[in-house]
Subunit: 198 residues, 2 copies
Amino acid sequence: MIKNIHAIQIILASSSPRRRELLTQLGLNFLVMPSNEEEHYQSDTPEEIVKELALLKASSVAKSFALPLSNTLIIGADTIVVLDGEVLGKPTDKQDAIAMLTKLQGRTHQVFTGVSLLMFEYNHQCKTNTFVACTKVFVNEMSLKEIQAYVESGEPMDKAGSYGIQGVFAKHIGRIEGDYSNVMGLPIATLYEILKKI
Amino acid sequence: MIKNIHAIQIILASSSPRRRELLTQLGLNFLVMPSNEEEHYQSDTPEEIVKELALLKASSVAKSFALPLSNTLIIGADTIVVLDGEVLGKPTDKQDAIAMLTKLQGRTHQVFTGVSLLMFEYNHQCKTNTFVACTKVFVNEMSLKEIQAYVESGEPMDKAGSYGIQGVFAKHIGRIEGDYSNVMGLPIATLYEILKKI
């Protein structure tokens, strides 16, 4: 049992600047150690896929340490966009980004983020807590010209579903249902409630 | 009829840094001229109140010009928080902010933003377009200690309902239904669709 979250070394197993920004909002100090694991999965459903990949990322960072860990929390996360059951990850190139945005415009899709918390206690025991959050997002109708202009900005390339909900794409987001930060890549309200209990 | 939005002088009749940030996301150049009008209203419903105040702010800035305006768009906006029919504006002091947040925590409330567009055409004719957006926001349960810590940060004092959805308060927002930017003070997706038609 750990009395104070600030006495724990926290490691964010992600290279996403959005996740870094969100975790900073919780007022925590943490290290960033992205996982280099290939993102292959066995699961079938969106919920299981993001949980599997979040756990994979956190575990891969844990394994990279030569010594057993203690008083350390590793946070892994994975985000996917789902439209009519089809999983949209990061685009492979500009054409792929244009194709994804053409599918998403004028429709509602779902964004799933899985978060995996690996809590290594003082005696090296590891407790795992993996959860998933889902937010519905409606993207307004977009012309091909608007889609092309957004893709040319370069912003879609490192993002699941080829868009970031913040910044210049915000003008195309008609409405959402659920946690906004989840769409950015980390559902911080749920994460905060869980960390309060640690 | 104006052919190009970039040929119009745009004036934002608001001192809110959040509105300035959101309007910048639309890629527009604009001047900031806050209205000094007292925010008194006659209307009864939340929708009518924010529309009345948005129009009041935009009109007050328009009247401050000595010469008739042309090719100029003035944007006024007003945001209120409504809980069980009670309108929550900006807090008067820290105690008031604590009282508001105590009411809001563990519940769903509504955020209304009215936007008033005064479009002065080349012949000085003015066309008015005033609309309103509503977003539901669920604030997770908060302890008095959490509320006090947030109020001590000073952030609530210039904000309707005593909170900003961005930044350190984001960890208390369980979910929203509607436009996120509307909660920040300016529903930019709707605004963007209207400006496209000008």
